[in-house]
Amino acid sequence: MSSVASILFNGISYGVLLFIMSVGLSVTMGMMNFVNLAQVSFSMLGGYVMVVAMQKFGVPFLWTLPLAFILVGVVSIVLERLLFRFFYGTDDLTQVLLTIGLVFMSIAIVTYFWGGTYQRVNMPEWLTGQQELGGFILERYRIFLVVVGGLLAFLLVFGLERTNFGAMVRACVDNRRAANACGLNTDLIFAVTFAVGGGLAGLGGAMSANLLGLDPNFPLRYLVYVLIVVSIGGMGTIGGSLIAALALGIADVAGKYYFPSIGGFFIYIVTVVVMLCRPLGLLGRRA
């Protein structure tokens, strides 16, 4: 019984991690119709912000998280103003190629500044080891992940899908000219949305580095996972991404535990089957 519970808990915490990494892409892809694969580079950047802040400047881990969110958000808004905004409304393929080019560049740039080696990620004492909680022995860092991830999901779902600002963003996407005519500053709304999406990716990178490791090839390693979560969840639905991430996390961990010989295939098989049956994702809306 305890093994079932710990499998479930580990699956949920892994799912939360997938969610934090991919929610930024889901936001820009769904709300702005922009396929920004460079989100995974933003994640990597967030990881490096965390590591450098902790090691070079002695910033406590908890403070590096907002720092990663803000710095990466700023970087993404700069890129949006200088580059991405000229590609709104182009086809998927153009955007995929543009942003994968940026991913390649980011790998070389990070190698140039921080070398090709894996970074040391040292968590504070209170986040390492294990903790007894309600009769179960759980890893402290995973508890932290679940708590922060849960908070974040709550904020996002209500912030972007239930507030004025969220409504403004959706208005921009559905009909930009009409939104403009109603007096919305569409440029500003897009830029802010983009910054939030980028910042979230940075935050996800900073939080995942401890579990997933950090080196210049981080973006290419996790690109596929992020894409899978976003497409299965259905673009633009934060709730969908959350459900997809949790389901994938649990399916992956349980699949590997109960059927280790096919564990690796599991996530891909699920992807293919879901996409064949529901091309718009689990909670996808017809555009």
């Binding site: 080019g101 991913v103 390649f104 790998i107 070389a108 899978i228 673009m235 293919v272 996409m275």
Partner: protein, 336 residues
């Protein structure tokens, strides 16, 4: 010009530049000091990109799993060579047949999909196949590649040599034959039907065109050609490893095709030339950071030459002709 026959004849007429293109490729063989091993691989990549062009360029199907067919061809040739079937040309036919069969199935599976779903399903299938080959060590040699692949002489006369002479001429000849087939296809009514469906599917359905069946057929043909390219690679390097069907290859071939330009048949070859030559050159200049320049190249191409090299040059060419007042544009030119 009014009868359909005349229309298709006009469409299929060889232009001088096309003939020059193939003559240059033959001529390169005789240039002293030319890098034949690199050129052979450019030809093979070009053929592979051309096969993708049939799907992406002429039918608008964005697939992220095209390396699967390349890999199926590559492993078919590898297994044949391993188990004593060393004759290369017949192996090409078998590789094409098996890849085509799988392509037909894949086409049937994905033909109703579009957008991200299509992308993810093709990507997923590619990854599943890659994972399977990588893990089945007993069957495929896994990560170490298939061991003991023996490839015989071409036509029983020409051995694959150290300098890559046989490999180049053999690849070029096969690629040219494949090109002829592809050219005939896209300049036929079948090719026009594909283009039509790319532009406006509902309208093609109203016209009574078998849109879904066309996708399956296009998949099968493209897969067969990708399989031939894969088999060529196995035969010219006399080994095969899971790299042949990696996701990286699927992504690279897409980049090559976009770089060269879609729906032109030649785009793949030109893109392969530019991409591989640049990559080789940049990797020699600075092996550690060449990724940066490839990335920048992608960004620049997408930003400024979105149509790709061949169409951009085509536009330039037409403008120059206009300046000289000898604009001979026919209505067919757009469909080259």
């Amino acid at each position: 010009m009014n009868t359909p026959t005349a229309y298709f004849e006009g469409l299929a007429r060889w232009k001088p530049l096309e003939i020059v293109f193939w003559l240059v490729l033959v001529g390169l063989f005789f240039v002293p000091g030319v890098n034949l091993p690199l050129l052979s691989q450019i030809i093979i990549w070009g053929l592979f990109a051309m096969s993708l062009d049939l799907l992406l360029g002429y039918r608008g199907i964005l697939t992220m799993g095209h390396a699967a067919f390349f890999g199926i061809g590559a492993y078919t040739a590898g297994y044949l060579g391993k188990f004593g079937w060393t004759e290369p040309i017949s192996a090409l036919f078998l590789a094409a047949a098996i890849a085509a069969a799988v392509g037909l199935l894949a086409g049937r599976l994905v033909r109703s999909l579009g957008g991200i779903a299509l992308l993810m399903v093709t990507l997923g299938l590619n990854l599943i196949l890659y994972d399977f080959v990588l893990r089945s060590t007993e069957l495929t040699g896994g990560d170490d590649g298939l061991q003991g692949v023996v490839i015989g002489q071409v036509l029983g006369m020409f051995k694959f040599d150290l300098y890559g002479k046989t490999a180049y001429l053999y690849s070029l000849a096969v690629a040219f034959l494949m090109f002829l087939i592809a050219r005939a296809l896209v300049k036929s009514s079948f090719g026009l039907a594909l283009l039509g469906a790319r532009e406006n599917i509902p309208r093609m359905i109203m016209l009574g065109a078998p849109v879904g069946k066309d996708v399956s057929a296009a998949f099968a043909i493209a897969a067969a050609m990708a399989g031939v390219a894969g088999a060529l690679l196995t035969q010219t390097i006399q080994s095969v490893s899971p790299d042949a069907l990696s996701f990286q290859r699927s992504a690279d071939v897409l980049v090559i095709l976009i770089l060269g330009g879609t729906a032109r048949l030649y785009g793949g070859f030109v893109g392969a030339f530019v991409f591989l030559f640049l990559r080789d050159w940049l990797a020699q200049l600075n092996p550690v950071y060449w990724y940066f320049w490839i990335g920048l190249l992608l960004v620049v191409v997408v930003a400024f030459f979105r149509k790709g090299i061949v169409p951009s040059l085509g536009v330039l060419f037409t403008r120059m002709q206009k300046k000289r007042g000898t604009d001979e544009r026919t209505p067919n030119r757009a469909a080259l």
